[in-house]
């Protein structure tokens, strides 16, 4: 009821009113620029070549796993400790912290899946070389900066502490002198200025160091300035990627003439495209690529971070020029990247590739891989803010059957709750949730309900009372429970950085705790940046406290923990049997381990459709494969053409969900006339026929960390023509998709890569040569997709109501021959929903060579049996055989009937019939 909602959700209206200011776009004034973020401004003011840091070589210690070295800032004599590790798998870790910080600085926990194993160190330097080539250089521009922790000068305690510290230092020196390296000691003694206390007096306080105000919000900054910064030079590199989330191009731009890319998880209302503003999530990982090598930098810091990118087209650094000289080239391009974080330490992992896939595997070894989702989650998701009540859900569910469109999940947004109290149901509209869930379950379908991390402050609300009584809420700077405004009105924010809090949260998903929940109910975590309507930049005050740490230190990892705890809850409620499905809006490095992400509140505009491609590609490059954008666009109402094109694009992106704002007209697929219903039905069905391939890609991503939806350069790293492509992409290695994203398009030009390669149009089976720009005329039903010659793709062409209805259905194998008349592919089958896949699955290699197609077991130790069989084999680019023989593993031979389409060179083998899990050979004679 509109009136009801407006009255009950004044916050929504307020919040929108604040940001709207009468226009339909983000109000940039509500979010900080670098200049308005005091640490970014201070750090950015530092110019190259003025590094005050000097290595104290006499402090160097080399063990067989690490090198440590002290750095001294010649201006203030503060010492830093640099640790260098050579990690297994061609990676280097550089850690820089204060040697003696006033109090500990935050080191991000839980993101690394384990302490990265080291390798015996060889002598190396900060210029990371391979042969004669410098691969990467740290601090070559001298932008290392470390704002050491200091006492506030105007306080009494500062004076006392400095005196005590000075006395303590003297005492310590007396007692430790026998053990300490005498030379270093001497050096320190000889240089009286090395006393940090003496130096401190000369430091200048700048604006924003001890307090910062933005739009009436004051950050009290009790710990003062604490920023860290370091620069990286990438000789020979012109293309850098990653550091999502930004609504920007795949290839990152230089930032010299504007703001740096910002990483600070924010709920940005109606975000603007093609700019470096921060969005909902942050993954501080950047990839650098040229035709010879791919490398990566992982900056493990969860505080607000800015990344400056410059390239030598605007003037080379001294280092770059020297390199030119050494390498005998005047044209060597170089990209310089500078990372600036507000607090924490410098902890950098340098992934040295050299191939894109090496970098993915190196990064995966640090932060883990994509969670393997239940098969149903790879199907189509129908969402809307909001399906009004149980009758509405039933009617939409019936609509899909009536129009014969498959779907797996229907979603409920915030209105399903009892007054925005998560884990509850509106007593009138969703009075019998189990009945509703059972109804869906009867059709082998599922539901996702939203559970946000802001908890209504209401003493009649169990969740709130428990969190309060356990003191699990984040605290404000004065020690009370932090309260902010969000959907429910006044809300508390559980401290998800606490392991005990996460355990408790997980326990709330137990069937006996979360009333009305069932096995087929999964979860959506929204607003977990966290979004605080009345907070600075619509998020939490940085001086809020998570135990001993400030929110400043942990901001970007909050959403990561929310999803972690939720996924854990879903696992636990099933006794560890079922794979969870959790969608999150905020994320950090490592979030891939817990589920899916989407690109947040986009809009029904063609430009938003276009940017969904680079946004998901960027996420895939940094490990988060399960990505999608709201199909149709969240804000505003799409016209029919845009909606159809969006379905066509979304059907070929990993997370395929339609979603719409509360205020938009309904847009279920059958509301736009029979013609458009048919177009949408067709493309959703294409998605379902390809589920075996999609599922296999998820399995791969889970095993290797390679992206599912990937830029062409990942597969064609030596082809510069692919480096900036962002209007087309690959799914795995074998499908190339060039969605139509232009209004009124009559054709698209797709780049088909690979010099000696061929590509087959999956709809017409027409063969095209690689390494060409191919113009493809399009109509409203066109979604240009090509299968790589040399690949075998399994499909299930019997599309049913939902993915689980198709479990036992037979496969059709699409064998696309390359110029050598060979092809390879894989088939992966498991139960589709449990963790048993770790032992019980079928994984087979399918290969075609010398006119024999065979299926070989890749996992002989695994156990699984399937009722699925091979109903059809379609060989593209084939010639006509005289006969076709099938040989099964029991030695039986039988003849297989076939059809040959000479005009398209398509050979179709009719009903060979062998079990999908068996060994077999099919011989063309």
């Amino acid at each position: 009821m509109a009136t009801f909602t407006e009255r009950m959700a004044p916050v929504l209206v307020l919040w929108l009113a604040v940001f709207l200011s009468g226009t339909w776009a983000v109000d940039k004034g509500n979010f900080k620029t670098c200049d308005q973020s005091s640490f970014c401004k201070r750090q950015r003011a530092l110019k190259p070549g003025e590094s005050p840091y000097r290595a104290l070589l006499e402090t160097m210690e080399l063990t067989n796993t690490r090198l440590t070295l002290q750095l001294i800032n010649d201006n203030n004599k503060v010492r830093l400790l640099l640790e260098l590790y050579r990690l297994q798998g061609n990676m280097t870790r550089v850690k820089i912290n204060e040697l003696k910080p006033l109090k500990p600085r935050y080191e991000v926990p839980d993101v690394l899946i384990r302490e990265p194993p080291t390798e015996p160190a060889r002598p190396f330097r900060l210029d990371i070389m391979e042969g004669r080539n410098v691969v990467m250089s740290l601090n070559s521009r001298g932008l290392l900066a470390f704002e050491h922790l200091r006492m506030r000068k105007d306080t009494f305690s500062y004076k006392v502490t400095s005196t005590v510290a000075s006395v303590w230092n003297n005492i310590k020196r007396v007692f430790s002198s026998s053990q300490a390296d005498p030379e270093a000691e001497k050096k320190e003694e000889a240089d009286p200025a090395a006393q940090p206390e003496a130096a401190k007096e000369e430091e200048k306080d700048e604006d924003g160091m001890w307090e910062e105000t933005f739009k009436s919000h004051t950050d009290s900054k009790p710990n003062g300035p604490s920023a860290v910064s370091l620069d990286f030079s990438l000789p020979g590199v012109e293309h850098v990627y990653g550091i999502p989330e930004h609504a920007d191009t795949l290839r990152l731009k230089t930032t010299e003439n504007g703001d740096p890319y910002r990483l600070y998880n924010l709920d940005v209302f109606q975000y603007e495209l093609y700019n470096p503003m921060a969005l909902y999530g942050a993954v501080p990982v950047m990839l650098a690529h040229n035709a010879q090598r791919t490398t990566g930098v992982f900056w493990l810091n969860a505080a607000e971070t800015w990344v400056d990118i410059s390239s030598n087209t605007a003037g080379k650094t001294v280092f770059g020029k020297m390199l030119d000289y050494v390498q005998g080239s005047n044209e060597t391009p170089q990209t310089d990247v500078r990372w600036i974080s507000e607090s924490g330490i410098i902890d950098v992992f340098i992934m040295l590739g050299p191939t894109p896939k090496d970098v993915f595997s190196q990064y995966a070894s640090l932060t883990g891989t994509q969670a393997f989702p239940p098969l149903a989650a790879v199907g189509y998701h129908q969402c809307r803010w909001n399906y009004n009540d149980q009758e509405d859900v039933a009617a939409v569910d019936a609509g899909f059957d009536e129009h014969d469109i498959p779907y797996d999940y229907i979603w409920l947004d915030i209105e399903h709750t009892d007054g925005k109290r998560y884990f509850t149901w509106d007593p009138h509209k969703f009075a019998t949730p189990k009945e509703m869930l059972q109804g869906l379950s009867d059709k082998k379908r599922k539901m996702v309900a939203i559970v946000d991390p802001h908890i209504k402050v209401d003493s009649n609300y169990k969740i709130h009372n428990e969190i309060r009584s356990r003191s699990f809420y984040i605290k404000n700077k004065d020690g009370g429970d932090y309260e902010g405004w969000c959907w429910p009105g006044s809300a508390g924010y559980p401290d998800f950085t606490r392991a005990d809090m996460r355990d408790w949260w997980a326990s709330m998903f137990a069937y006996n705790q979360y009333e009305g929940s069932m096995e087929n109910l999964d979860t959506w975590n929204d607003m977990n940046e966290p979004s605080v309507f009345n907070g600075p930049e619509v998020t939490m005050h940085k001086d809020a406290m998570h135990g001993a740490w400030e929110h400043r230190d942990v901001h970007n990892i909050y959403g990561f923990y929310v999803q972690m705890a939720t996924a854990e809850g879903l696992i636990q409620r099933s006794g560890g049997v079922e794979r969870p499905f959790v969608l999150t809006r905020a994320f950090f490095a490592g979030s891939q381990r817990y589920g899916a992400v989407w690109t947040g509140d986009n809009a029904a505009e063609w430009e938003h459709l276009k940017i969904s491609i680079p946004m998901c590609l960027s996420l895939g490059l940094v490990g988060i494969s399960f990505c999608g954008a709201d199909v149709g666009g969240f804000f505003k109402s799409p016209n029919t053409e845009l909606l159809v094109r969006w379905y066509q694009t979304g059907a070929y992106q990993p997370f395929f969900r339609a979603h719409a704002h509360l205020d938009t007209p309904r847009r279920e697929p059958w509301l736009f006339g029979p013609e458009n219903t048919a177009l949408i039905r067709e493309v959703v069905r294409q998605r379902y026929t390809l589920l075996p391939y999609w599922y296999l890609q998820f399995y791969h991503a889970h095993r290797t960390g390679e992206p599912i939806m990937r830029p062409l350069w990942v597969e064609y790293p030596e082809d510069p023509a692919t480096f900036a492509l962002e209007d087309e992409f690959l799914i795995g290695r074998d499908l190339l998709v060039h969605p139509v994203t232009e209004e009124g398009a009559r054709g698209v030009t797709a780049y088909l890569p690979g010099k000696d390669q061929v590509w087959f149009d999956v709809h017409t089976f027409q063969k095209h040569n690689g390494a060409q720009n191919l113009y493809i005329p399009v109509t409203m039903s066109s979604i240009p997709v090509f299968q790589r010659g040399g690949s075998i793709i399994p499909r299930k062409i019997r599309v049913r109501r939902s993915s689980s209805c198709m479990m036992q259905d037979p496969y059709t194998l699409y064998v696309a021959l390359n110029l050598q008349r060979t092809a390879e592919g894989e088939l992966y089958i498991d139960d589709g929903h449990t963790f048993n896949y770790e032992k019980e699955f079928i994984h087979r290699r399918l290969s075609f060579a010398n006119n024999v197609l065979s299926s070989v077991n890749l996992a002989p130790e695994a156990q699984f049996s399937t009722g699925s069989w091979i109903e059809r084999i379609v060989i593209l680019g084939a010639s006509k055989p005289s006969k076709v023989l099938l040989k099964t593993d029991d030695g039986q031979e039988s003849q297989v009937e076939f059809d040959f389409d000479a005009s398209m060179s398509v050979l179709t083998l009719r009903k060979p019939g062998m079990n999908a899990g068996a060994d077999w050979n099919v011989m063309l004679q």
Binding site: L14, L16, V799, R800, R801, M806, R910
Partner: protein, 536 residues
């Protein structure tokens, strides 16, 4: 008649059940297509695209593009499966629902190989359907009878209205004549009134001019004596120079030549000659007694009066910074603003520039009796005219309303006319919905709060063959960032006239279910029923 129909239905269902048992045909094929599937003979796809051996029919592999070779398996993406559903209605399902573990056909025939434990529910469904059909038939019958009454009533109502319209038309003519007559009377009375008033006003103007002149003379004399420092009865250049404000070019130096110029080129003027000098200097002259009250004091209060509104304006600005306040209640804010406006408006009367003039020249004397009589007479004529005109307007409105009602599309036989000027309500847990057909639809919160307009009568909106099945109400209160609210009313046949449900399927687009006998269609005759059922 009802029982006949039921019996017939039973017979039909029985015969279908029997035939399903007797006739052999491939799984999933309807009786009507049985002849295309002849056991042992090559099968030609129903689209004629190819011919295949019969053993490829239902062999779980799709050979025909139209899916016709696999009516009983899920092999063809576009196939359809026929469920006989003995005891209920036969039907088709997409063949993708065969053996998917979900029971679709009530006779369970779609799940022959999936292990799904389906119950045959056809008899139960059939019974329920028959019951509901029977019930519907009864309702339709009774509703249709009621509808006939409604049609009769509407006819009578229409005739009455037309008669009334004719009556009013006659009365209207009389009234129009009366208005014209009174207009003449009024205009006749107003002419002498106007002339008498003008005479009176002119006399007063003349009197005022005399007074003004005398005042001016007195002032001149006063100034003369003030300037005449040596009291010789004349003003000299020297005496004039003491008044620097008289400097004609206001350049800061009042020269003797300039003073002489003011005195008409002479050094000295007497009281008679001063009269022409006075006319040149009176606008600038400042009295030596320094009583400059008039310019300053009159203006100051004026400025002060203006200030309060600007204060209020500035109080409005903080809205931008603190939107919470703004949003609390739009209506409330509007009211406040109105009050403020009232406040601004009340102070200005203190400015009273007219009063000052009155003080100077006195008030206009009352009209003389003769004039007053003329005015009274004219006023009386005006009142009489106004009253007649008002009466005419009322009649006009009546005519318009009647015309509107008569011309309204109340259905083919005006069967919906009875809904006109009625209202129907539905109370939910939160709201009371109120539909006044052909007028408006609204929603009022049960526990306080103002009413929201969900749309005013727009048009009939049903499909072409049944346009009266839906009503559309449009242009209701606007939604935030959304469309104006609108409501679709879905009419179904019933004995009563009642609202059964209201929902909001899409934001600000409401759907109301409304029962009325006026939508009831004539129950099908036995013949029609027979014909219709045969197609099953």
């Amino acid at each position: 008649m009802t029982s006949c129909q039921t019996q017939y239905l039973l017979m039909l269902l029985l015969s279908v059940g029997v035939s399903a048992v007797e006739v052999q045909r491939p799984r999933g094929v309807p009786l009507s297509k049985r002849q295309f599937y002849e056991e042992g003979k090559p099968f030609t796809c129903l689209d004629g695209s190819r011919t295949i051996p019969f053993d490829r029919v239902n062999d779980d592999y799709c050979d025909c593009k139209d899916g016709s070779d696999e009516p009983g398996t899920a092999a063809c993406p576009n196939g359809s499966f026929h469920c006989t559903n003995a005891g209920f209605r036969p039907g088709f399902i997409p063949s993708s629902r065969i053996n998917d573990g979900i029971c679709d056909c009530c006779d369970t025939t779609d799940e022959y190989n999936s292990g799904a434990a389906c119950q045959n529910t056809c008899r139960e469904l059939g019974r329920k359907e028959r019951e509901s059909l029977q019930k519907m038939a009864e309702i339709t019958k009774e509703g249709f009878l009621l509808k006939q009454q409604l049609i009769q009533e509407a006819k009578r109502g229409l005739e009455e209205k037309k008669a009334k319209q004719a009556d009013i038309q006659i009365g209207k003519k009389d009234l129009e004549a009366k208005v014209e007559a009174l207009r003449t009377v009024k205009e006749t009375a107003e002419q002498p009134e106007k002339e008498a008033k003008e005479r009176h006003l002119k006399a007063w103007e003349e009197q005022k001019a005399v007074i003004q002149m005398e005042k001016d003379k007195a002032k001149m004399a006063e100034v003369l004596s003030e300037l005449d420092d040596d009291a010789d009865g004349s003003v000299s250049v020297a005496e004039l120079l003491s008044h620097s404000e008289l400097d004609p070019d206001s350049d800061g130096s009042f020269t003797e030549a300039e003073a002489q110029g003011l005195l008409g080129g002479v050094d000295n003027v007497d009281s008679v000659a001063f009269e022409s000098v006075w006319n040149n200097i009176k606008d600038k002259y400042t009295s030596e007694q320094a009583n400059t009250e008039t310019p300053a004091e009159v203006e100051t209060p004026g400025e002060e009066v203006r200030e309060p509104p600007s204060d209020n304006d500035s109080e409005q600005y903080p809205e931008e910074d603190i939107p919470e306040e703004e949003e609390e209640d739009d209506d409330e804010e509007d009211e406040e603003e109105d009050q403020d406006d009232g406040d601004y408006k009340s102070p200005p009367p203190t400015q009273t520039p007219d009063k000052k003039e009155d003080d100077d020249e006195g008030t206009m004397p009352p009209f003389d009796q003769e004039t007053q009589n003329l005015i009274d007479a004219a006023q009386k004529a005006r009142d009489a005219f106004d009253e007649a005109e008002r009466a005419l307007r009322e009649v006009d409105d009546q005519v318009k309303n009647l015309e509107k009602e008569i011309s309204f599309d109340f259905g083919p036989n005006a069967e919906f006319a009875y809904l006109y000027s009625q209202c129907y309500e539905l109370s939910t847990s939160e709201y009371i919905y109120r539909l006044c057909p052909f007028n408006r639809m609204s929603q009022k919160p049960k526990f306080g709060g103002s009413e929201t307009n969900l749309g005013s009568w727009g048009h009939w909106a049903g499909p072409e063959d049944n346009i009266y099945s839906l009503m559309k109400y449009e242009h209701g209160t606007g939604c935030w960032q959304g469309p104006n609210r609108s409501t679709t009313i879905k009419l179904t046949c019933g004995k009563e006239t009642v609202v059964t449900s209201v929902s909001e399927p899409s934001r600000c687009e409401y759907l109301m279910e409304f029962i009325s006998p006026a939508i009831c269609q004539e129950p099908p005759s036995l013949d029609a029923a027979l014909h219709g059922h045969e197609e099953l």
